[in-house]
């Protein structure tokens, strides 16, 4: 077993444990922090698969943006002061059944496909250029790319409109 494989298995185990802690830790903030740990583990897995770009994007988007946002939201709610809530509710049996079914289904699909259909690992050389060009290519993904941009701009403007205090003269009950 090479050192890389050892590292891969250790990181995988850590990510798994962190993911379980996300849903089992009694305090909401801890859940958010464990989520960050799980996402960081995924980033390390990307590095070990020699895809530095995905790893960096994983950290930039999921840890820096989304996870920090989750923690901010948790901090701004009162839940941070509360010690614990019960961790499970009435539907835990059904939910775990669904999760098991999904896991089994994924496992079955992977097993059915067999090792022959595994794609060869693509060399990361030039992969980023291809991705970048495909995003602005007319034959590529320019339409989804632009739609996503428009959506984000709309969300930005919407956030400003919602957060803005109504000006004098416009009247308070515009709702």
């Amino acid at each position: 077993m090479t050192p890389e494989q050892l590292l891969f298995l250790a990181t995988g185990a850590f990510t798994l444990i962190a993911s379980i802690m996300v849903v089992t830790s009694p305090r909401l903030v801890h859940g958010g922090l464990w989520l960050i740990a799980a996402l960081a583990g995924t980033a390390v897995l990307f590095v070990l698969l020699e895809n530095g770009f995905l790893a960096v994007v994983q950290v930039a988007i999921y840890i820096d943006a989304i996870a920090i946002l989750i923690i901010i939201v948790v901090m701004l709610t009162r839940a941070v002061m509360k010690e614990t809530d019960p961790q499970i509710n009435r539907t835990w049996l059904l939910a775990s059944l669904a999760a098991l079914l999904l896991f089994g289904g994924l496992l079955a699909i992977i097993a059915l496909l067999g090792p022959a259909s595994r794609p060869a690992l693509v060399q990361p050389e030039g992969g980023l250029d291809v991705l970048g060009k495909a995003l602005v290519d007319v034959d590529g993904f320019i339409l989804p790319f632009e739609i996503a941009s428009v959506l984000l701009v709309a969300a930005l403007i919407g956030a400003i409109v919602v957060a803005r205090t109504p000006m004098r003269g416009e009247g308070g009950d515009w709702r």
Binding site: T2, P3, V29, H30, L33, I36, G52, F53, V56, V57, V59, A60, I63, D64, A67, I68, I71, I72, M75, V80, L128
Partner: protein
């Protein structure tokens, strides 16, 4: 002497293989050792940096600064570090123990992690990932998380307030920071740090994009949280902010993190806008490149301290207004204009330097004109409000 760093690498590799180790394990051991040396050195610069800062700030304020321990007070920081090490790390009652203890480590680690992609000299770079700038941004903002964890876990309202301010400041100054870093990416055609240095062979980017350099510098000072922007630990408002409950070396780690972070942004400024290790003869003698890099970084570090010693702290609403109403729109305009102008210059064969300088000058003039009209409008509006007459003593 054409490749001293490769020579060291080969020497160590031969040595370890000579001990009878497997070559794959040798590679892993060497990588770990290199990471330890780089991280250790980056962290240890704090000892020098703290002395430099205290001495410089003292001189600017017409004082002597540390001058008792060792020659010129050079050993003062070591004495302080020893004192911090002997102090107890107190953990307040009701604190979140694990999170509380992890926070300072995260802050320091996020700063030192940036040095992994710093091109120190030709052929001397920890890891030349092709998304170096993105890596710097994402690793750098893990520090935000560390500060938030510190504020959250301390069980103290001042610490929590400091954490809130951190969120407001660091997350919002991330926007102009990223926008200003897109411009060197655009000019170099790459996000890799080594590529960015290499493409500054003819002309440093600070001459092609002075406005972008300025925006990057200002927003990275805000990102570090140095004075004018030290709102998150504003000692006259919220006592000490996020690190109020920390003592001993746990507090020392925040301190180290801040100083190394200030040095790191100086180094980033040197690499991204001042040509990194480039200078006469640097390619033939890589060690000379390291010297050039350190000189440029030191100059930028001096400017950071100079700013710190000169400006008063701004208010939090001023900080937010400055960022969202001034720096961010300016960065957006600069990014768009630079992209268009650079494409024009390349397509039409106009001299790139001239085109960029003219575009930047026009943007500066435009900004000043807009600011002037805005200020005039604001003054008119303020004049309408009846003011209490200020009684002035009649001069006899």
């Amino acid at each position: 002497m054409s490749d001293p760093f490769g020579g060291i690498d080969n020497f160590l590799k031969d040595l370890l293989i000579g001990f009878g180790l497997d070559s794959t394990f040798v590679a892993v051991i060497l990588k770990l050792a290199a990471a330890a040396v780089l991280g250790g050195l980056a962290g240890a610069t704090a000892i020098v940096l703290i002395w430099v800062e205290r001495k410089l700030v003292a001189r600017i304020q017409d004082r002597l600064g540390p001058n008792r321990v060792g020659p010129y007070g050079l050993l003062q920081t070591i004495a302080d570090a020893l004192k911090l090490l002997t102090k107890e790390v107190l953990i307040p009652a009701g604190a979140d123990r694990l999170v509380f203890q992890m926070a300072p480590l995260l802050v320091v680690a996020s700063v030192i992690g940036v040095w992994a992609v710093m091109p120190l000299a030709p052929g001397l770079i920890g890891s030349d990932v092709n998304v170096g700038l993105l890596y710097i941004l994402s690793v750098g903002s893990i520090g935000t998380l560390g500060i938030m964890m510190a504020g959250l876990s301390s069980n103290n309202k001042y610490a929590l307030l400091g954490a809130f301010r951190t969120v407001a400041q660091m997350v919002s100054f991330m926007v102009p920071l990223i926008l200003s870093l897109l411009i060197p990416t655009l000019l170099a055609g790459s996000m890799g740090m080594a590529d960015i240095v290499n493409s500054q062979a003819g002309l440093w980017f600070i001459f092609l994009a002075p406005l972008a350099a300025l925006i990057f510098f200002v927003s990275s000072i805000a990102e570090v949280g140095r004075t004018p922007f030290d709102l998150m630990e504003a000692d006259s408002e919220i006592v000490a902010g996020f690190h109020i409950e920390y003592s001993g070396m746990a507090f020392g780690m925040f301190f180290v993190g801040e100083f190394v972070h200030a040095f790191t942004i100086s180094a980033l400024m040197a690499v991204i806008f001042l040509g990194g290790w480039r200078g006469p003869g640097a390619e033939a003698f890589p060690l000379l490149g390291l010297v050039y890099f350190l000189i440029k970084t030191s100059i930028m570090y001096f400017v950071v301290i100079w700013v710190r010693a000169t400006f008063p702290r701004i208010r939090i609403d001023q900080m937010n207004a400055f960022n969202w109403k001034f720096v961010t729109p300016l960065a957006l305009v600069v990014l768009m204009v630079t992209a268009i102008v650079d494409k024009l210059a390349i397509e039409s064969g106009w001299p790139r330097f001239l085109v960029h300088v003219i575009a930047n000058l026009l943007m500066v003039v435009g900004t000043l004109v807009i600011l002037r009209t805005q200020a005039a409008a604001l003054r008119r509006r303020l004049d309408v409000v009846p003011e209490a007459p200020v009684t002035q003593p009649e001069t006899a």
